[in-house]
């Protein structure tokens, strides 16, 4: 649900990074925070445990400035990946305009990826969201590691909607901005269609 404020000439879009525990959602946001123009970013808020695992969410507002007289912002959120935090995931997902599903490419993380992907759709359905109205991107993270699935295999498993796929290594930043750009443009396109 894009929030459009005609009086203040503002439009805000919400993008959620989703995926299993330790897949690299927070790493994506942290990289964006470090590298994006400081004038365009707000405060990075992280609600994490002492072990730096996401407890509730990370939040980073990005401003695109004024486009055709409308001040446009993207609000980036991550969800906690660990399975027992599903209530928190649902809350963060509420009102999302776009979702980046971050997949851990390692073969050993297959079950976690699939569980998280199914959990995403289950939560979207329970929130009454129409997934066809959401901007969606599949990011295949940790492509620098060995013992990883092929792009074809992961795409077959985790992308039944045929969404754009981006290969990434969030730790070094490879694919991080490409993912973000892709989902932002998808969100705008979907918003125009609705």
């Amino acid at each position: 649900m894009a929030l459009i404020n005609l009086a203040a000439r503002e439009i805000n879009y919400k993008i959620v990074y989703y995926g299993c525990g330790l897949c690299g959602k927070t790493t994506n946001i942290q990289y964006i925070y470090r590298r994006v123009n400081p004038a365009a970013r707000g405060r990075l808020v992280s609600i994490a445990t002492e072990e730096e695992r996401t407890l509730y969410f990370d939040f980073l507002p990005l401003s695109l400035g004024t486009v055709k007289g409308l001040r446009t912002r993207f609000h980036l959120y991550t969800v906690p990946g660990q399975s027992f935090y599903n209530a928190s995931r649902r809350l963060v997902l509420q009102g999302a305009d776009g979702v980046v599903f971050v997949a851990d490419s390692q073969i050993s993380r297959l079950d976690e990826n699939v569980d998280s992907y199914l959990n995403l759709w289950e939560n979207l359905m329970s929130l009454g969201e129409d997934p066809s109205r959401l901007g969606m991107v599949l990011q295949l993270n940790k492509r620098d590691l060995t013992n990883i699935f092929s792009v074809t295999d992961l795409t077959e498993l985790l992308n039944h909607t045929g969404s754009p796929v981006v290969e990434a290594c969030a730790l070094t930043g490879v694919g991080v901005f490409e993912t973000l750009k892709t989902v932002c443009k998808q969100v705008i396109a979907r918003s125009n269609e609705s």
Binding site: N12, G95, G128
Partner: protein, 164 residues
């Protein structure tokens, strides 16, 4: 399954909201009064301000309130409709206006909590119908046309150029 409608606030509605928020801030001696969506986005603030801290405050307030609602569920309570945090220098009071909109007010210790609660309840009587109308109105996205889409595409490329 239908996707929930977007929330579109018109100029006239915004003028009413701003007036009510300004008055509420004045009569309560509040530091900041804001309407935020339950998805964490600020709608209107008094004083009018869109600093990054306001964005963080909106996101955190919405999530804190959402967590409170879940707590109510766990405790078999129908709902907790308000949230109050007391600090050394300032306090935060949050109430639900509609299903999708919250009102938050920050104030210091020179203001009594009872005063804030009383005037907030009165403000809700005005805010609620205005926001319910806004929630039920049809989106008019005429300004989100092809030009906007093209320009925003260029702005997205511009924002991230040199970052990678």
């Amino acid at each position: 399954m239908t996707r929930r409608k977007g929330l579109v606030i018109s100029d006239d509605q915004m003028r009413v909201l701003e007036t009510v928020l300004d008055k509420l801030r004045r009569v309560t001696g509040g530091t900041l009064v804001a309407l935020v969506s339950t998805s964490g986005q600020p709608i209107c603030t008094s004083p009018s301000d869109s600093s990054s801290d306001t964005l963080s405050l909106a996101a955190l307030t919405a999530s804190s309130f959402a967590a409170t609602r879940q707590l109510a569920e766990v405790l078999n309570e129908r709902e907790f409709t308000l949230l109050f945090h007391e600090g050394k220098e300032s306090n935060l009071h949050v109430v639900q206006v509609t299903e999708r909109i919250l009102l938050l007010i920050t104030f210091g210790h020179d203001t009594q909590v009872g005063r804030v609660r009383l005037y907030t309840a009165r403000a809700l009587e005005v805010l609620k119908p205005v926001l319910e109308t806004a929630e039920n109105s049809q989106r008019d996205d005429a300004f989100l046309d092809g030009d906007y889409r093209r320009e925003i595409g260029a702005a997205i490329d511009g924002l991230f150029s040199g970052s990678e």
